[in-house]
């Protein structure tokens, strides 16, 4: 990544945080086998975030001059896979929550148009948009909690004795490597003077708080039925109502889909940036169309067929990338 994206560390942290937050609202379909109890879920999430933080720190330390063409060349297909999978997840979530579905082509078209606009607005614009959307999401969460307060029962919380084996099993079920860690670290190190304060602990703590809140209100509302839910937060949203508005789930889901749009636009932005680095001959809108073509290819290949395979391919690519970064020796500056 020789060319620099100018974005303040705080804004970058916000962007990465919002992207990671999305999975707390829109649970990835099919990737996890059953939801753990709240207690186990919170502990497993804490362990997962700790590992993420460690990976992030490692990447920061080892990134910098390791951002060569090979690394970029590995990260780009990983991002295309991630974006394609995210597109599938978004489409599936939309079909799941809405009674009246939208044609897949229309859905994908809208995503591509918004991604195009978001990419060409720039990272700073995207981060500002993300902060506005995050504020709206916070309001959504407040309304959600208020709407289900009458149905919250402390007795619904399942008191599970947290054994290490259970914890590891829960962690194994839900753990995954997100591409956000990689480009967050790369973008930070890609500045003239890499900043000291990057706000990563705040992001991960925020993630843990939000996830814990969702686990708790989910189980307190649904009780034993919580563990059989595919989208527990959406189920809770379907339960609650405020005053004469008996069903607000579509409203909540719409707000969460804004987070999805931020995330996928971020993936597109990073992929376009990498494409520009790898293929400097491509000018104008060329990199965006190239990335779109790649994402569509992943979408069409994996949708309803090989999603699991695509997911594991993504994880493998990111793992290889991580190992590559850790193992490639640091380039000494020319004397």
């Amino acid at each position: 990544m020789t060319e620099r994206i100018q974005i303040a560390p705080q804004q970058l942290a916000l962007l990465a945080g919002v992207s990671l937050f999305t999975d707390a609202f829109i649970q990835p379909f099919g990737r996890q086998s059953g939801t753990a109890s709240a207690q186990m879920g919170i502990l497993a999430t804490a362990c997962q975030l700790l590992i993420w933080y460690g990976v992030f720190l490692l990447l920061r330390r080892k990134a910098g001059s390791r951002q060569n063409q090979f690394v970029c060349g590995l990260l780009l297909p990983a991002l295309l896979l991630a974006a394609g999978l995210e597109l599938i997840q978004g489409e599936r979530f939309y079909s799941y929550v809405m009674d009246k579905n939208l044609a897949v082509a229309a859905f994908v078209g809208i995503v591509l148009v918004t991604a195009y606009y978001g990419v060409h607005s720039g990272m700073n614009a995207l981060s500002r948009t993300a902060s506005a959307i995050l504020a709206v999401s916070a309001v959504s969460v407040v309304f959600l909690v208020v709407s289900v307060v009458p149905q919250l029962r402390f007795t619904n919380l399942q008191p599970a004795a947290p054994g290490l084996a259970d914890l590891l099993a829960a962690l194994r079920r839900q753990f995954y490597l997100p591409p956000e860690l990689f480009f967050w670290a790369f973008l930070l190190e890609n500045t003239a003077a890499p900043p000291k304060k990057v706000h990563a602990p705040a992001v991960f703590l925020g993630l843990l708080s939000v996830s814990s809140l969702f686990f708790l209100i989910g189980e307190m509302t649904l009780g034993p039925a919580y563990q059989t839910q595919e989208q527990p937060l959406f189920t809770i949203a379907r339960l609650g109502g405020i005053s004469v508005f008996r069903r607000l789930d579509a409203l909540h889901a719409s707000v969460w889909l804004l987070l999805f749009l931020v995330k996928i636009t971020l993936y597109f932005a990073m992929a376009v940036h990498l494409a520009q680095q790898l293929c400097p001959a491509l000018g104008g809108r060329g990199p965006f169309f190239l990335v779109s073509a790649g994402v569509l290819l992943v979408f069409l290949s994996a949708w309803s067929q090989q999603e699991n395979t695509a997911f594991w391919l993504l994880q493998a690519a990111l793992a290889i990338l991580l190992l590559t970064i850790l193992l490639i020796p640091k380039k000494e500056p020319a004397k």
């Binding site: 948009t129 959307i133 719409s254």
Partner: protein, 486 residues
């Protein structure tokens, strides 16, 4: 290349007449002043002949000076009399044209390459009145007029500090319109001033009749629904902006001052905000933000919810809307578009018609659109109510009327065609558009996004004066971006 004045009077007169095409309103009277041949030139209507004669006759009667030649006469009038002459004489035909069209009288003198400029302006112009827009309860009710010099004086009268600086430039190749650039030189960024001055000098406009003509040349970036500059009709507002380190541009012939840089949150500020209690001002501001989003989103959301997610409606409302939709021939979203377009037509008609029959238009519109169309089953009451609510909300922030109107229609389209996801996509694009704009280097959404102390101080809310007075607001202190101009 500028053509200098001839020493021969008749040549100057002939060239002057030729320059203006022998226009009927050009008054060029050859006279003798203290024995020297001169010619008094003015435009009728811009200058007053009566005042001119009184001024000149007075001098003629009282003076005992006997000039040797034209240059002697010039020196005498320019420096030794108490005639109301301008400091800078006219030396070429370009200046001659400028002075004559400014309403002064120019006295060409035989044997002199310079001409005296007499301040005898008496042009007809609209007086200082309360502007039609930007209504306020407290504070000054004065508004800008159409004359640049008067407008500059209105600002000067309110900011009596020596740091207020005004520069005059000329824009418009055909109209040669005077443009004033006002700023506080201790607050405004010198780079900003220089950049704006440079852009104004290079504006390739053939004509300039309003400050808004300059906006596209001062802004940068691709198309956006929102403008990076603001406008005001009130001198008080312009002065407040100058005191924040901003620039104000006044254009001769336009009562609208342009303010730059201008931020999104400023559309929701008004003069009364600073005259009322802080809690009430904050409440009104939040109301305005709500009104804007309601104006933009409500029609599209209504259509989207009705077509795609009707469960969001309260049960009692749902069957009424269903009943209404069954009874009308058009699909909901086309009905909404129709009502919005009708309302826009009514508004436009009300604006363009003479005031005497403007009231009748409102009555006819209310009766036909509001009542008869519903009774005839062409339109349904929920749609009419939603559209009317939207329009009323829009009147709360008139400065955003244009983008809100177009965005509203777009939201209806996408809501009707693609449902909630269409709305979300367009909302994302709108947010990205607003968040991606820069007003002369500063993020357009400052201080709301990125959230800064200014958001509570004087953005979303308004802090009490005891807080505001401690540290006056300065645009250069806003967070979120490095100031870069060109």
């Amino acid at each position: 290349m500028k053509t200098p004045l001839h020493p021969v009077l008749q040549q100057n007169i002939d060239q002057l007449k030729q320059m203006f095409g022998n226009s009927i309103d050009l008054y060029a009277k050859p006279v003798q002043v203290l024995g020297i041949d001169c010619c008094l030139c003015m435009f009728e209507g811009l200058s007053t002949i009566e005042r001119l004669w009184v001024v000149l006759l007075n001098m003629l009667c009282d003076s005992t000076f006997q000039p040797k030649d034209g240059q002697d006469l010039f020196r005498y009038i320019q420096a030794q009399t108490d005639l109301p002459v301008e400091n800078n004489p006219v030396t070429d035909f370009d200046q001659l044209r400028t002075q004559l069209t400014a309403g002064t009288t120019v006295m060409l003198i035989d044997g002199c390459r310079k001409a005296v400029v007499l301040s005898t302006q008496n042009m007809q112009f609209r007086s200082v009145q309360e502007p039609s827009g930007e209504g306020n309860v407290r504070g000054s009710h004065e508004g800008f007029t159409d004359l640049l010099r008067i407008n500059v004086s209105l600002v000067r009268r309110l900011i009596r500090s020596e740091t207020l600086t005004s520069e005059i430039l000329v824009c418009g190749q055909r109209t040669k319109t005077e443009v004033a650039l006002l700023y506080d030189r201790t607050l405004a960024s010198p780079q900003l001033v220089q950049a704006v001055r440079k852009r104004l000098e290079l504006v390739p406009l053939p004509v300039l009749f309003d400050s808004s003509y300059l906006a596209p040349f001062l802004q940068r970036g691709s198309f956006s629904f929102f403008e990076e500059v603001g406008y005001t009709e009130r001198p008080v507002t312009a002065c407040a902006k100058i005191c924040e380190g901003k620039l104000v541009i006044l254009v001769n012939g336009s009562p609208y001052a342009m303010v730059l840089p201008y931020f999104f949150s400023e559309h929701f500020q008004s003069l009364d905000d600073y005259s009322t209690k802080a809690y009430f001002a904050s409440f009104i501001r939040i109301l305005k933000y709500g009104a804007f989003f309601m104006a933009v989103l409500l029609p599209g959301l209504f259509v989207s919810i009705a077509e795609y997610t009707p469960e969001l409606f309260p049960p009692q409302l749902l069957y009424k809307i269903a009943a209404a939709e069954t009874a009308t021939p058009l699909p909901l979203f086309l009905e909404m578009i129709l009502v919005i377009v009708l309302l826009e037509l009514i508004r436009e008609a009300g604006l363009r018609l003479p005031k005497a029959i403007g009231h009748s238009v409102s009555l006819v519109a209310a009766v036909i659109v509001g009542d008869a169309a519903v009774k005839a089953g062409i339109l349904s009451t929920p749609i009419v109510i939603a559209a009317a609510l939207t329009t009323i909300s829009m009147f709360v922030i008139p400065s955003l009327y244009e983008p809100a109107t177009v965005l509203r229609i777009l939201f209806v389209f996408v809501g009707g065609l693609f449902g909630p996801f269409g709305i979300l996509g367009l909302l994302f694009i709108m947010l990205a558009s607003i968040c991606g704009m820069h007003s002369f280097g500063l993020p357009y959404t400052t201080p709301l996004v990125p959230w800064g102390g200014g958001a509570v101080r004087d953005g979303l809310l308004r802090a009490p004066w005891s807080t505001l007075a401690q540290k006056p607001f300065d645009v250069s202190e806003l967070p979120g971006g490095k100031i870069e101009y060109d």
